[in-house]
């Protein structure tokens, strides 16, 4: 969660604490492909089951940076109402676009320039490309779940969720559809779970990167 800015995290925590006095517990989720390989860039969302109450987090702005002709992150997760802030961190021009109807945009950005702020009003996957660099591709996955995250290079993600019952939902660019591998009980001390996901081979997907390190924020 290093991508989240500390003020934003604190704000979210404060907001969560306000309606719910309970403290959130860490939930560790590991995702692999069917062969057991760690699967980075997988979206993990926890949808509270009936009886579990998780206060809705406040709207926020998620940032999509472009560095070394790569969208960073390759996959980011947002909730309806959030805003996508595109920026160019490269020393070259980029022309980002998306033809996804709810978040359609097209913007040329000079070197090291901020880009457009795109509203993400509804649930869906927004594919973002660069018209100058065909290899660049990013997904902004808008999901209506209070707890969600994206697996890191080792295919793992640690989420913060109040104890209770949740439905686990998984999405991956090479799978391109939501998977619900099952329910997850989060204890007061947290939980951990592993899931495997059926995905297309890497090379089949245009714009994907063979290097698992790619598509992640640079230090």
């Amino acid at each position: 969660m290093q991508s989240f800015s500390r003020p934003a995290l604190l704000t979210a925590l404060a907001l969560a604490l306000a309606p719910f006095p309970a403290f959130a517990a860490p939930v560790q989720v590991a995702v692999t492909d069917s062969a057991g390989n760690a699967l980075p860039h997988a979206v993990v969302a926890l949808v509270p089951a009936a009886g579990t109450s998780v206060p809705a987090p406040p709207p926020r702005t998620v940032v999509l940076d472009q560095r070394k002709e790569i969208f960073r992150p390759h996959v980011l997760v947002a909730r309806p109402g959030d805003t996508l802030a595109v920026r160019n961190g490269d020393a070259k021009k980029h022309h980002s676009y998306s033809f996804t109807p709810m978040a359609k945009f097209s913007a040329e950005m000079g070197p090291n320039s901020p880009g457009p702020e795109v509203a993400l009003p509804a649930v869906g996957e927004v594919a973002i490309g660069c018209n100058l660099h065909d290899g660049m591709l990013a997904y902004a996955v808008v999901v209506d779940a209070p707890v969600a995250g994206v697996t890191g290079p080792e295919g793992k993600v640690t989420l913060e969720a109040p104890a209770g019952a949740y439905t686990v939902r998984l999405w991956h660019p090479r799978g391109s559809r939501w998977d619900e591998p099952g329910k997850l009980e989060v204890a007061a001390s947290g939980a951990s779970a592993s899931y495997s996901l059926v995905v297309e081979p890497k090379s089949a997907e245009p714009g994907a990167y063979d290097d698992p390190e790619q598509g992640f924020p640079l230090p």
Binding site: F99, K104, A127, G129, C130, D134, M136, L137, P206, G207
Partner: protein
């Protein structure tokens, strides 16, 4: 031999040349076929290689199409249009791109294979789904790909690329049919002339797509493709002749009918490069033929030369040359083979023939009795001498008198030996340098290289040999000999010389002169007479003859009562010819008949003319002994007298006493017929011949004509007067009138008148003259008998 075809040498040459030529031709043809097959095989290999290259070329082009399509597919507007579902926009963009891609047909295909847009929909309408959807998806999702496939009946290059927006949202498929331009481009690519056709195999056989062939040949493509096995070159005849054909195949998309590449290379084009080889082979054939001919000529010469020599030798023998110079040189060179033996045999034969011929010739050229050359041989020898330009010879012709009697007396055996002895004596007496020949039974010719005088001397010596009797078998035989001499004369032929000697000998024998030398005056025969006789008849027809009339005068009245018609010949070259130049000749040659007929016709016509003019003049025409054998002569006289209405007293035929006596019976018959026809018959030259009074009595004679030899000197010769007087009396006793010829003076005229002679003829009254002069004389002249 030559008429029937080639000579032996020719046949050898032809056979050898034909054999070598055949071998060469076979060789050349075999070489040509080997080369041709090699060329065609190589052409096939080249076609296979070309097919590979073309295949690669098509693939490269297809990949280029794919590359371009991929770049185009990344167009932002297209992506947007596709991603936002604006298909009309997408289609117009595709159309635009299609034009950029050499007019390619562009399809927009959804990820699940549905055709969403088509820039050139087929006539049947756009297909619902893309035929080769299996190509799409899988690894292709990233970069797309290319393939060759038959789409809507056209073998086409397909390039399919995903539309990334930025994820794949659909497919752009570019379709470029393999057309005639592509075929032409491939054809242009090849250094050799290869025609390219794209074919594909439908359910009912191969079909043609683009081709570089012309229309006529394009029609044959399906059949050709069907006949070919893929990747196996084949030499095949089509509408344009022999061609090497090759069917290559393209890898095609799964589910596509096979697509092929049909290559065609004309065989003659393939062989064109080998034209020099063909010429070289032709050269080889011709050189071989020439060598064959040369060798044949050489071989034939070797084999045929002896035969040719034999043939020439045979011709030599034929021509009478027996020394055989051709064989003499050839024989040593010829080994004892068949030809050599034949030559030897031929030479022996030639020798034998030569011997026999010498014998025959000797017999033919020599007299069997004396062994002396005969007449022909003498002629030949003399002609040979003359031809060699040797000194001319004089000829002594020695004749034996009484040889026939001797033969009869002694018998022919002894007679022959006598003649042989005479030959020997003559040969001995003539001495060396003289040529002695027996030219007739009783004639020996001695040719001497001497002048006339010496020859005459020699002749006397030769005749003198026989002054003494010839001793034979104990008999002393008296041989009488005479000799004629003809002196040498370079202008004369030997034959003429011999003739002259013969004339001289004739006279010598006749007059017992011993030796007579030829002189022109002695010669009754002159060569020019011969030509004269041949011209006589033509002369008669050409009117060169004319009649002159010599008056006959009545001795009692002194008036002209008639005339004797005498022929004159004015020859175109010789001029005037007197009768004695041609009448005797004409009698001898028989031409007298024509002359007599002409004279009768002309004279009788003249008599008729005189009668018409009121002159009663008789005309007398001479008839020769020959004419008396011509029964037609009397008919002619009869016819003429009838036609001209001449009374009998006006026509007289004069015939000499001698002529009548030669064949009295025949003469009597003809003369009688003439008398019957109405002509008077007069006996000419009466008194000179040995006329028989018996015949004279039988003859139908009306007149006697006293020969002029009795009349010319009548006045001075009492003997002649007596003879003439006797004749006149005889004539009158036989009731014949009497005419005197040769009356040249008034004295004779008077004497004749006194003797009672009826008519006179002679220069005293007139020479022979033209008819008109005679008529004038008859009218105005009169002679009186004045006693001398």
């Amino acid at each position: 031999m030559r008429r029937h075809g080639l000579s032996f040498r020719g046949r050898v040459v032809v056979l050898l040349a034909a054999a070598i030529g055949a071998v060469q031709a076979f060789n050349a043809v075999a070489q040509y076929w080997v080369v041709r097959n090699a060329v065609l095989t190589r052409t096939g290999t080249e076609l296979a290689r070309a097919a590979e290259i073309f295949n690669g070329r098509v693939q490269v082009a297809t990949e280029q199409l794919g590359e371009t399509a991929r770049i185009l597919s990344l167009d932002f507007a297209l992506r947007e249009a596709v991603a936002t579902g604006e298909h009309e926009t997408a289609l117009s963009a595709l159309r635009n791109y299609g034009q950029r891609l050499n007019g390619a047909r562009m399809l927009l295909v959804s990820l699940d294979g549905h055709v969403m847009a088509d820039s050139q929909p087929p006539p049947s309408g756009p297909a619902a789904s893309f035929a080769y959807r299996s190509l799409l998806g899988g690894p292709a999702l990233r970069k797309g790909g290319t393939a060759l496939a038959v789409l809507d009946g056209q073998p086409s290059r397909l390039a399919y690329v995903p539309v990334l927006a930025p994820r794949a949202v659909g497919w752009v498929v570019a379709v470029l049919p393999l057309g005639a331009e592509d075929a032409a481009a491939l054809k242009a690519l090849s250094p050799v002339d290869i025609d390219v056709s794209f074919v594909w195999q439908s359910d009912d056989g191969w079909r043609a797509a683009g081709t570089s062939l012309d229309q006529a040949l394009a029609a044959t493509i399906p059949a050709t493709a069907a006949a070919l096995e893929p990747a196996v070159p084949m030499l095949r005849a089509d509408a344009d002749g022999d061609a090497v054909q090759y069917l290559g195949t393209f890898p095609v998309a799964a589910g596509s009918p096979p697509v092929g590449l049909l290559l065609r290379h004309r065989a003659d084009t393939a062989l064109e490069a080998y034209e020099p080889l063909v010429y070289a082979l032709l050269g080889v054939i011709l050189t071989g033929l020439a060598a064959g001919l040369g060798g044949g000529v050489l071989a034939a010469r070797t084999a045929a030369r002896p035969l040719g020599q034999l043939a020439k030798a045979a011709r030599d023998v034929e021509a009478g040359r027996y020394d055989l110079p051709t064989l003499a040189g050839a024989e040593p060179a010829v080994p004892a083979d068949e030809v050599g033996r034949a030559m030897q045999a031929f030479r022996q034969m030639a020798g034998a023939v030569s011997d026999r011929e010498r014998q025959v010739r000797h017999q033919a050229a020599h007299d069997g009795v004396t062994g002396l050359p005969n007449r022909q041989e003498l002629d030949r020898l003399l002609a040979e001498r003359a031809g060699q330009g040797a000194a001319p010879l004089s000829i002594v012709l020695l004749g034996l008198a009484r040889l026939a009697e001797l033969n009869n007396t002694l018998g022919h055996g002894l007679g022959d030996r006598l003649v042989a002895r005479v030959g020997d004596l003559l040969r001995d007496a003539a001495g060396p340098g003289a040529l002695v020949a027996r030219v007739a039974d009783n004639r020996f010719a001695v040719a001497l290289p001497a002048g006339e005088e010496q020859a005459a001397e020699a002749a006397r010596r030769l005749v003198g040999v026989f002054d003494a009797p010839v001793a034979l078998d104990g008999l002393a035989i008296d041989v009488q000999a005479g000799a004629g001499v003809a002196g040498r004369d370079p202008a004369l032929t030997p034959r003429e010389l011999l003739r002259r000697a013969d004339v001289a000998l004739y006279l010598a024998l006749q007059h017992d002169h011993g030796v007579t030398t030829y002189a022109p005056g002695l010669d009754p025969y002159r060569p020019e007479d011969v030509s004269l006789m041949s011209e006589l008849r033509a002369g008669v027809e050409r009117g060169e003859m004319a009649l002159r009339y010599q008056p006959k005068v009545d001795l009692r009245g002194g008036r002209v009562v008639g005339a004797e018609a005498l022929a004159r010949w004015t020859h175109p070259r010789h001029g005037f010819l007197p009768p004695d130049r041609f009448i005797p000749l004409a009698e001898e040659t028989g031409n007298i008949r024509h002359l007599t007929r002409w004279a009768l016709s002309t004279a009788l016509a003249q008599a008729a003319a005189w009668r018409t003019a009121g002159l009663d003049l008789g005309v007398a025409v001479n008839v020769s002994a020959r004419d008396l054998a011509d029964a037609g002569m009397a008919d002619l006289v009869r016819g003429l007298m009838g036609d001209l209405r001449l009374p009998p007293r006006n026509v007289t035929v004069e015939v000499t006493e001698g002529a009548v006596m030669r064949d009295p019976d025949a003469a009597v018959a003809v003369l009688r017929r003439m008398a019957d026809a109405g002509a008077r018959v007069s006996v000419d030259d009466f008194g000179t011949g040995h006329s028989s009074l018996a015949y004279l009595r039988k003859l139908p004679v009306s007149e006697l004509k006293v020969d002029k030899s009795f009349v010319l000197k009548l006045a001075s010769s009492p003997t002649d007067q007596a003879v003439v007087k006797a004749v006149v009396e005889l004539g009158h006793a036989l009731d014949l009138s009497v005419v005197a010829e040769g009356v040249e003076d008034a004295g004779a005229f008077a004497l004749l008148a006194g003797m009672g002679c009826d008519l006179a003829q002679g220069y005293h009254m007139g020479r022979p003259m033209p008819a008109a002069d005679l008529a004038a004389l008859a009218v105005g002249a009169r002679w009186d008998a004045v006693p001398a």
